[in-house]
Symmetry: C2
Subunit: 606 residues, 2 copies
């Protein structure tokens, strides 16, 4: 029935192939930005159960920046506590300790959220829909071609990528193919990515020997930490517990090669090992506690950990790959979906700026630069963690085993990394590593540390992250310092004056209206009894809501200490440029217009 | 066209007349409880602007108990700060001080929310709709009759109230009337209540001399406190500022009789005074600051304060009145809508329990007992506040005027009252004033003080108010004390045993399933490292989520100190019974089954 003759042709700015976490994050961000985008998927419907399901603290912050965290927090389970079990001298296992699940002191949401992948994707699908974009499915791509014309590749308004799509509507006997000419294509089509293979991008790294089974179920158990993330090391193998939404619990169960690998093919064979046998193995690890499924198993699978990173993340900055298409690793550290979403959170604003003509094409090079390094760090972390986790526990009889202290140390050390909070982008066109001392704790290349400030006009407390939405704008955080000091007030007035001159980046890159490109927030170091928002020059208070104070709220319940937390001098202040994705791009002194100009000159277009 | 011949007859459990704040609160609560309810209104559509708009801290807590606060918080403006202006020695006004808008230290939401009445009602209408109830409009009642048969009045399953309704569908030339026989009728039909008048209930109290104008607009101003609640006392009259959602601001402006009252009728005449003149008067009060509307006025009105309370709130506990139908007062203290909603929050669960056969008809007497006293307190408060607010400020030339200190003192003193937090219900069948010393700071007859506890199973922090939803169930908060102490653990086991015996209220009033009537939460005074939720007897942990700890979360950010905050002994504990509306009904010792039995015996039915 496959008619290869295309009977439809179209153009689009961005074509996204694959509606998993990386794809829907990108599609939603572009839809919210008003970009002309299409997203296709080969599955006829979204996933209903199982799959990846852990959302890390930084990813919650990112969802919040798109206005999506409220629903995630409402629907998901929160993991606050981890518990560690090890062999007991009397046989079976016993609890060694309980600890925070997340070890990242600045996390705004100090926990992981678990919720099945379909429910998480639904949050994005509903938001996309409100912005007029729906996933077209089932559709598969059958051909992708990139123009070889340098002129075309360099022209942001050209459509140098040609993709042929095959519509697989099961109701339609006559299948339809379509030629799509796109400015940009994103391959977010999973570990077996068709886009990656079509472009001949290799995966570096290898498969491990670690084989695991996964079971989602409502347990019937007397195990007291069933609602905590548990690392269970027993002499009968290792297990991990991940509590889920409602009463569901996920078990990760270590398996032996001989049980699950088909010797003929060397591949995991799901016919050799069902959920009943997985629970049998788990039962041995959990003794003396009882654990069983209280009803039918919700979802299950088997897998071998592969730890690989794609050799490149884009071809000519016209076709990109993201998510599992460019990195695969162990699911147990709960990183997969998070790395995927953060890939395209990083990419979406860059595509938007280029498509709007606000930024030079070269901006797109920073995607691979920033995200491939992250993926490599992730694989390195995963190797260490998987080895420790899959290793035998140290006991009287096994002095070569992993000690509880080694495991805990790794758990803590990698805490900032697994939480996503510690992600650090290296210096580039959009990350200028200078004047760090002026805001010594707002690390350039890292996300803005959440902190509560109050609005000068009405003393309402706000977490500053809520004032840094992913709305494609650069945020200029003007820490105006001690505004009741006459000399400082004069410096602040001068800043407002020079920002408003034609030669300033603020006017040069305004594209008709600077408030569309830049959002200016002023933050005074003084208290709510002294400051009027009307004290600041108009450019630094373009709306009454744009002036903040570093003070407690009216009840002294939240707020205060922000300048100190950020390492900013309360007298002199500083200017902090925040990228549209919430990462610190640069720091400058109040009189540092020259540095600001240099920063935006390095990637912006007039 | 009015055909008095009814051509339709029907029965309903509860008929609500009027879809203002009191009506929709009641209809939503009953709809959520699955009660057979209808609600009618004479207006063809809901209000779009203006009217009452202030939601007090306690009312936010109440909305949260129905799952409705999230949207209110998202859509509304928050008032955190109040500012006070008085005559300046140099002429015009100057700021005397800024202060917290809310003076109730235990308020969970320490601010007022402002949002126009239509938007607030929409939150209820959407919730009701999700539970299958919509407002039928436009419909007016034309006759109400209550059966004189004692037998019928005492039988909860009888329909002793007969109401004739007139459908006013403007599209329908032939208007339809309908006879409705109801078990209960609620008149929530406003200050000019038809229900109240039909039943001949008098209003006690009188009209004041205070005449005020109200204007909603987006201001153009250099006044630095335009986003705070401001009390402006000038020598040119008094004004109050109430910032609203978006950039809207409401001004209350004091007026003189001669300007607005028609001498012929003695009534306020809106033709004598438009919004332009109101802003002119305001402008004089605000000097030297400028204030003007930046566009057309959104809404405006004039009013004379009336301070009246209905002589009774029900007839035979079959027809009730609520909201403005039974009390009217000054809108400036922002109490109207709050008192109205809290009237029916108080009534709805009582109607539900009686209709389900869970409670004796006598339970309904507590509605008037509790809410009429509150309304009287409110009027007394309002008299004092209005007098102070409408009075001339004290100046060099006017030594009889109100001093700033007097005004601030009243503002503070009445803070707990205006916030709704201090509402205190006197002893009655549902409020047994005994054993207060066992929980000395959870005041019997007051709402449960919000506090964060953590769940034993997963260390997730919860504000206890979120575990006390308005779901019609009584909550048994079992403060189990020091559960690792063997003697205390034995007492707790005994409690579980005796609760489960046939003679216990928990079994006697179970109506087949005690968990439908009672929700049991256990709260240990011990820490997260020591307690397993599995330690408690099954009746006290009917789900893993039902055991709490008085400890900080894993980051020590929230929680801990709950036993102390509630005045409960951490060794011995206590039992606190919380009414379905969130108010403390009684306190008992851990071995106090007898007192618990006596409490529920005083109003429950088997």
């Amino acid at each position: 029935m496959m008619s290869q003759a295309a009977n439809k042709e179209s153009e689009v700015d961005v074509l996204i192939i694959g509606a998993g976490p990386a794809g829907v994050m990108c599609a939603n961000a572009l839809a919210m930005a008003g970009v002309n985008v299409r997203i296709i998927d080969q599955r006829p419907a979204k996933v209903a159960a199982g799959q990846a399901d852990g959302i890390q603290p930084r990813t919650i912050e990112v969802l919040q920046s798109y206005g999506l965290a409220e629903r995630l927090l409402r629907e998901g389970n929160q993991m606050h506590m981890a518990a560690f079990y090890n062999p007991s001298p009397s046989g079976g296992i016993e609890r060694t300790s309980r600890a925070p699940d997340v070890t990242a002191p600045t996390a705004r949401y100090p926990f992981e959220i678990t919720l099945h992948q379909g429910a998480i994707e639904a949050i994005f699908l509903d938001s996309m829909k409100a912005h007029g974009v729906v996933v077209e499915r089932p559709i598969i791509p059958t051909s992708i071609k990139l123009s070889k014309s340098e002129g075309e590749l360099k022209d942001p308004s050209a459509h140098p990528v040609t993709v042929i799509l095959q519509h697989l509507d099961p109701e339609d006997a006559q299948e339809v193919s379509e030629i799509v000419r796109a400015k940009f294509v994103l391959g977010a089509d999973g570990a077996h990515s068709w886009v990656r293979k079509s472009l001949g991008i290799s995966m570096d790294g290898e498969q491990t020997d670690y084989i695991w089974g996964v079971v989602d179920m409502v347990p019937n158990t007397d195990f007291p930490d069933i609602r905590c993330k548990c690392a269970v090391h027993s002499n009968n193998g290792s297990c991990m517990i991940i509590p889920r939404e409602g009463d569901l619990v996920r078990l990760y169960i270590q398996l032996a090669d001989r049980d699950v690998v088909d010797p003929a093919t060397g591949r995991v064979d799901k016919n050799r090992f069902g959920p009943e046998r997985l629970l049998e193995v788990a039962g041995k690890s959990f003794a003396p506690f009882e654990i069983a499924a209280s009803g039918p198993v919700d979802w299950w699978t088997l897998y071998i950990i592969g730890q690989r990173v794609a050799s490149k993340f884009s071809v000519s900055e016209r076709v990109f790959i993201a998510g599992d298409a460019c990195h695969t690793h162990s699911p147990k550290a709960g990183q997969g979906m998070n790395a995927s979403m953060n890939d395209t959170h990083n990419l979406a604003w860059k595509l938007t700026h280029v498509l709007r003509g606000w930024a030079d094409m070269s901006l797109l090079k920073t995607y691979e630069f920033e995200r491939r390094k992250y993926a490599q760090d992730l694989i390195n972390f995963d190797k260490k963690f998987s080895k420790l986790f899959s290793g035998k526990p140290r006991t009287q009889d096994n002095q070569d085993g992993v000690t509880h202290e080694e495991f805990i140390e790794a758990f803590q050390t990698f805490g900032a990394f697994t939480s996503g909070i510690g992600v650090h982008y290296e210096p580039s066109a959009i990350t200028h590593d200078q004047h760090q001392a002026l805001a010594s704790k707002l690390i350039i290349g890292e996300r803005v540390v959440p902190h509560v400030f109050i609005r000068a006009a009405d003393a309402r407390p706000y977490n500053i992250q809520d004032l840094l939405p992913s709305d494609t704008r650069f945020k200029l955080l003007v820490f105006v310092g001690a505004t009741t000091d006459a000399a400082q007030a004069a410096r602040v007035r001068t800043l407002a004056d020079v920002l408003d001159r034609p030669e300033s980046f603020y006017r040069r890159f305004a594209h008709g209206d600077p408030t569309k490109v830049f959002d200016v927030l002023s933050i005074s170091s003084e208290g709510k009894q002294n400051v009027n928002y009307t004290d600041l020059p108009p450019l630094l208070r373009q709306h009454w809501s744009k002036v903040l104070l570093d003070d407690t709220d009216m009840y002294a319940r939240v707020g205060g200490g922000g300048y100190e937390a950020y390492g900013i001098d309360p007298q002199c202040g500083a200017i902090v440029v925040v990228r549209p994705d919430g990462y610190v791009g640069m720091v400058a002194p109040i009189n540092g217009l020259q540095d600001l100009n240099a920063y935006f000159d390095s990637f912006m277009a007039q």
